[in-house]
């Protein structure tokens, strides 16, 4: 761990694969920028890989001031231990006050390894981050300008705010899709700092034998409009209505867990705590009761329409428009109304 260092930078770990930055890394850039401006410090990004220096410019465009670039053939493909060594050594060298990772499969593999080695705190899967003050309940000691690490717990039934005031850096993984993705400004300037990490003594104990990546067939995160169906849709046949409505709107098809479990649609369409978190311009929830786990994945949508038989369904609690009725009648009405407007 490092000592609390209020002058330290706000860092993000820039996740890249096959020379592409993950979208989550760019989301982290805008959040880090906001936190750093509040604290009056710079934003740093750790970029590790082989031949990926070019990605620095994109990070800078999205708000990074200093890119700490480490390259080594060992880093060409992600493996936990060499990457953990990079980040731990850079933290020890530059003493950032905050380090953020995407709560991606990679981030959730890497960050705990680093936190353990640094013996510092780590909060998983945050949905929001703020700067605030914390008073220790026993000693009444006040710690100013800490990172408030906000996350759902207990299956999304509670929201906890976590702080780490003494064993820094303050580290968190941040859920994909919950921070707004900015456009980036190609005119922004920043520094690229090449960092050397010693690997001569490194014993490569894990070898990558095979690596297969599938192109995502369903792009929920990128969709402007999502039409999602739940258990209330009733059957796979009825689920065709969801596809039809999405079709006329040019939107993507989402689903609640109940619809996936019911076999109406495949899991890659699932929105919610265990599926994808989305924030489209319009989310139409059809026959979705709105369990917390589902709401956690969609309540940030700009506009929400809920269609449900049950007027007590919790989904109406987050809706802007609510239609209490039979979706097999309402959806065709909507399709007609949309066609008419054209």
């Amino acid at each position: 761990m490092i000592e609390p260092n209020p002058k330290g930078e706000v860092w993000i770990f820039a996740e890249q694969e096959d020379e592409h930055l993950s979208e989550t890394s760019l989301e982290l850039c805008s959040k880090a920028r906001e936190l750093a401006d509040r604290l009056g410090v710079k934003v740093g990004a750790v970029l590790a890989g082989w031949n990926v220096r070019e990605l620095s410019y994109r990070l800078i465009a999205h708000g990074v001031d200093k890119v700490y670039y480490v390259y080594d053939t060992l880093l060409e493909y992600y493996r936990t231990l060499p990457y953990a060594r990079v980040v731990c050594q850079l933290i020890t060298r530059h003493k950032p006050q905050i380090v953020l990772f995407g709560a991606t499969p990679l981030g959730r593999d890497l960050a705990p390894r680093i936190a353990s080695e640094m013996r510092s705190g780590l909060t998983a899967d945050c949905t929001d981050l703020e700067i605030g003050d914390y008073t220790e309940p026993k000693t009444k000691a006040v710690h100013k300008d800490l990172l408030m690490q906000i996350r759902p717990a207990f299956g999304g039934n509670i929201i906890a705010t976590i702080v780490n005031f003494d064993r820094w850096p303050q580290m968190a993984t941040v859920r994909e899709g919950v921070m707004p993705l900015g456009d980036g400004d190609p005119r922004r300037s920043g520094q690229i700092i090449e960092e050397k990490i010693e690997f001569s003594d490194f014993e490569q104990s894990v070898r990558l034998i095979e690596r297969v990546r599938e192109k995502r067939k369903v792009n929920l995160k990128g969709a402007r409009i999502i039409v999602a169906g739940g258990g209330g849709v009733g059957s796979k046949e009825n689920f065709k209505l969801i596809h039809d409505l999405a079709g006329v709107l040019g939107g993507a098809v989402g689903a609640s867990r109940a619809a996936v479990d019911g076999g109406f649609i495949s899991k890659e369409h699932q929105v919610g705590q265990t599926g994808t978190t989305v924030r489209p311009a319009l989310y139409i929830a059809c026959g979705i009761s709105g369990a917390v786990q589902h709401r956690a994945g969609m309540e940030e949508s700009a506009k929400i329409i809920a269609i449900n038989w049950d007027k007590e369904a919790p989904i109406f609690g987050v809706a802007h428009y609510g239609i209490v009725g039979d979706l097999t009648k309402v959806i065709p009405m909507m399709i007609r109304a949309i066609r008419e407007k054209e």
Binding site: T80, A84, P105, R108, D109, A111, P112, R113, A115, S116, R119, G121, L122, T123, A124, Y134, Q149, P152, A153, F154, G155, G156, N157, I158, I159, A160, T161, I162, V163, N164, R167, V206, R207, L208, I209, E210, R211, V212, R213, E214, L249, L282, Q293, A302, K303, P314, F316, G317, A319, Y321, G322, I323, V324, K329, V330, M333, R336, A337, I338, K341
Partner: protein, 304 residues
């Protein structure tokens, strides 16, 4: 070649089935109102370990850290085929965050001694952090493979596994020992074996025996209770039904690294989710109502 496995399991509140009593008025979780279950991913970790033992020989030891009630999941491990179960139980471990928990479990693994494979579920449903596995691996100084989905090959001191990373998979090769965190898609878990249930339902930890004796002999002196507990425990040990119970001292844990003092992360605030009933525009399920709503969405540019 036979392989010895350790499986880390956890008893968790069933967060998927939260009822009205589950939250106290102050917004904190009323754990006692929630049914306690075997963490789902951990069942798959246990199954993965049992499959290795069934194929190659060796042993499966299950460990958990928690209150005495966590013996429930250890008995379940015995029912399904575990050879040995250990409860790490110590008041001073309360309020441990993932860093402290990873440390304590790593100490328990050290005490168990030689092992080839350490298995854990990908994550527990009460916190969903997925951190303790990798943190244990780091504390033990061994590599980790997260998101284990299939054993590709195991021979000598070399293992090949497939891990699912969401948008694809990887096959990794590693030297033993190694820690693996297991996805629920890795296997179908076996049910409890009826014969083993009949036998191991009598398995108890020392703490459970102490509580049972206290309940059954309310009038006895503490010396009498102690003697009775010792007698029962000896009987259990002889029958192979004693659940080992270790304290932080037993695992030689540095107390500064356990519990509250060993936990860098502190809970500042907890809010239960209250639906913000700001109200919504109710649209009647008619052609006219739906038409009006679509028109509004066009006017405010939600629909292009």
């Amino acid at each position: 070649m036979a392989y010895d496995s350790i499986v880390c399991v956890k008893q968790v509140p069933d967060t998927a089935n939260i009822t009205g009593d589950a939250m106290k008025d102050d917004g904190t979780v009323n754990r006692s109102a929630l049914p306690a279950i075997f963490n789902p991913d951990d069942l798959h970790a246990l199954e993965a370990a049992l499959q290795v033992r069934d194929r190659f020989g060796g042993t499966v030891t299950a460990i958990t850290m928690g209150p005495l009630s966590a013996c429930e999941v250890l008995r379940d491990c015995l029912y399904r085929g575990a050879d040995r179960v250990i409860l790490v139980n110590d008041r001073r471990a309360a309020a441990s965050d993932t860093l402290a928990t990873g440390y304590i479990l790593a100490q328990a693994v050290r005490k168990i001694g030689n092992c080839d494979l350490i298995w854990a579920g990908r994550q527990a449903i009460d916190g969903d952090t997925a951190q303790v596995g990798p943190q244990m691996a780091e504390k033990l100084g061994i590599p980790q493979v997260t998101y284990f989905e299939a054993l590709v090959d195991l021979s000598g001191r070399t293992i090949r596994v497939r891990r699912n990373v969401g948008n694809g998979y990887e096959v990794l090769e590693a030297r033993l020992p190694i820690l693996l965190t297991v996805l629920d898609s890795a296997n179908e878990t076996r049910p409890a074996a009826a014969k083993r249930v009949m036998r191991f339902k009598h398995a108890r930890s020392a703490g459970e025996i102490t509580n049972e004796v206290a309940a059954n002999m309310p009038a006895a002196s503490s010396a009498e209770k102690e003697a009775e507990a010792a007698r029962l425990l000896e009987k259990l040990r002889a029958a192979g039904l004693r659940i080992e119970q270790w304290s932080l001292d037993d695992v030689a844990a540095d107390l500064r690294r356990c519990g509250m003092s060993g936990s860098p992360t502190k809970v500042h605030r907890v809010q239960s989710i209250v639906l913000t009933k700001e109200g919504y525009t109710e649209i009647p399920p008619s052609e006219e109502g739906v038409g009006r709503m679509i028109h509004e969405l066009v006017v405010d540019h939600t629909l292009g």
